[in-house]
Symmetry: C2
Subunit: 452 residues, 2 copies
Amino acid sequence: MTKPSLPQGMRDFSAETVRKRNYIFNNIQKAFELYGFEPLETPAMENLETLLGKYGDEGDKLIFKVLNNGLNDPKNIDKATAGFAKVLEGKNTTELTERALKYDLTIPFARFVAMHHGQLTLPYKRYQMQPVWRADRPQKGRYREFTQCDADVVGSKSLLNEVDLANIYHHVFTGLGLKGYALHINNRKILAALAQICGGDLMTITVAIDKLDKIGEEKVMFELKENGLNDQQRKTISSYLNIIGSNADKLDALLKLFPSDAMAMEGIAEIKFISEKLPEVNLILDPTLARGLNYYTGTIFEVKAPSEVKIGSIGGGGRYDDLTGLFGVKDIAGVGISFGVDRIYDVLEEMNLFPPDLQKGLQVFFMNLGEKEANVSYNILQQLRGAGISGELFHEIAKMDKQLKYADKKSFQFAVIIGSQELQTGQAVVKTLSTGTQEKISFENILTFIKT
Amino acid sequence: MTKPSLPQGMRDFSAETVRKRNYIFNNIQKAFELYGFEPLETPAMENLETLLGKYGDEGDKLIFKVLNNGLNDPKNIDKATAGFAKVLEGKNTTELTERALKYDLTIPFARFVAMHHGQLTLPYKRYQMQPVWRADRPQKGRYREFTQCDADVVGSKSLLNEVDLANIYHHVFTGLGLKGYALHINNRKILAALAQICGGDLMTITVAIDKLDKIGEEKVMFELKENGLNDQQRKTISSYLNIIGSNADKLDALLKLFPSDAMAMEGIAEIKFISEKLPEVNLILDPTLARGLNYYTGTIFEVKAPSEVKIGSIGGGGRYDDLTGLFGVKDIAGVGISFGVDRIYDVLEEMNLFPPDLQKGLQVFFMNLGEKEANVSYNILQQLRGAGISGELFHEIAKMDKQLKYADKKSFQFAVIIGSQELQTGQAVVKTLSTGTQEKISFENILTFIKT
């Protein structure tokens, strides 16, 4: 028998971790509901066709594909064999794997909207908090199963949505105690103008700039050179990437860099509109922010964790003008944001920001000191549970030491002791475990005593 | 472009359904916590090896297997090709699929306990509420992704655990309004005694009896004949299956059927012990209850929905003496129960038992009647949201009709109207949408007005 283990990049969450994660989820969910977003859940599996081609070639490789069932059925063998040959050639095919695990929440959401757009009240505002799966190489802070929390609005081009979404970030992160967060903002229209001026391809430039944090400017420039951008073009990009100062300084610099480009002007005006409505938010205009996904068309957001922790991005999102167009339904504009829950967890842990009372234990522990005694204890316990008080009777007759050790490990608040003597007098010993004080309480008054 | 769709047996849950499902989850979770169980979450994917052979041959076929990534890497091709050949022969192999989606919550839990048994405080009581996946043929009430809610105790042989678990069922089902539920109970020791008396194999008999509800006694008897049981043996089983009457009558009949069998006596005594401690629970001793899974060794439970709905089992569980033994860790006894959430959902729907206020809408809707007006409205809205009141400002300037139609669809409670006139007077029109009444409220008093 092999020793049991977990697949790489997969995690078990025990009670303490579940409670901490739920604390984050609850904070995010409350904000989403406060801002008028409604829940949606989509299944773990999608048709592979729904996902392929939506995340770039690299993304396609990271999709977990689910083997078709019944491949040994004679009527399936030929198709499966053809599919397997394609897989060995590194080609995408649904012949062997019709289904796959979802890679993010955005594409399943777009698929949902495309399927139901006739019945939805637009603008449709949904939130979704579910796991996604990626066959990435596991490393610190990166897992193969992780939970995304997304909020999107579709069916509205209004920038008020961007304002709401930025305020949701502010609400959640200040609520979690992360006052030092920074919300970076940029606009794809500005990047498109940059590409136009340079004569380069928007995606090439976006993909290169997106790596700036990881590989540095020198390597970005090298990549752009490899992609055919000449000295002059690279110089423009370099001066763009080196715009610094306050948000107002940066807006000025951008206006100078694109003196009469209509597309750039639009992008700049959008940033201005949004930032003026967000006096409380720590908004940072960041020309180097690009975001790799190619469906963004306007505002892009990214949230950085407080600089004292070296964790980087803890959320991001942006505006897309035609996401459902991927599924044949045109002209449904949208904008959305995502929270990186696993990263946020690491930040709160490192900054010691989880509230201590998340891990509060059970309320009442009943000792088990004999068959008759246990019967009486269990009846009182059921009375307490009926009144919403959590508790346990020790599962077997055992020495008091052993029982108290268990009560201690599970952090009970009270211990109720009913032995043969207490059975006779009708009075239990009730011990407050944090202080060690104890009192005699008649059986019928235990509920009232615990309640108060 | 193909029309977007969902894989067979998969479901999207929109807001109304999510809220109803959460209502069920919350009720179950509260009961689990009340009885001292702690949360655990395990990943969607397990090593295929962990799952294979745990659910019988039929179960193995229904496991969703995840294709290994990087099969076209030269160093993987040989292994993958060998694996693919085995798959086409209908054999189990991990060469093509090292990972699989979890099929239930019990085996991943056993795997977790086997990995961590040294660090756990025993008895370890955990609950787990997560989706599982089975490649079953989809049909009404049976999906390929569905959520299980399990509670298990490991490290204790005490029957008090069975009593607690039965009380959890009672607590949850009465809490959900399902007073007509019935908790069927039997004991594998009695079935083992039956097998011994008949000279038949326990699993053969269990598997056959388990089908009684679906195929009827005649076909069960035919299956037993096919499996080599003679007339006399089948007669004994038939008289066992036809034990009727009150629980006391049935206990008497069982005592007569197994006059001096130690194993049967143990099973009967266990049922007696448990039932005496459950005066409130609608417990039905059911000799025909067998449950297919072969790891059960003592008590077995099954919950039937109220008879007015034809939905059948909505939960089940039982005692197993050596679940972690499958993973090399011996002597950790346990007992657990499971809730069939999808079935419970159907029952509540059919009996109209979901509370109407689950679907309460948002609180405050602000009309958008101009740029300046919207600015003022948004500031007030942010004040309300800061005080925990949910609301929205309409995303764009539009006709009042259009805006009110949206507010109606999303079931807001109040509409706040700030047009150019209200901007001058500093008083908004606040409309209570359920009654149609409206009042003028000064901007600074809107929060107080809505709160009260």
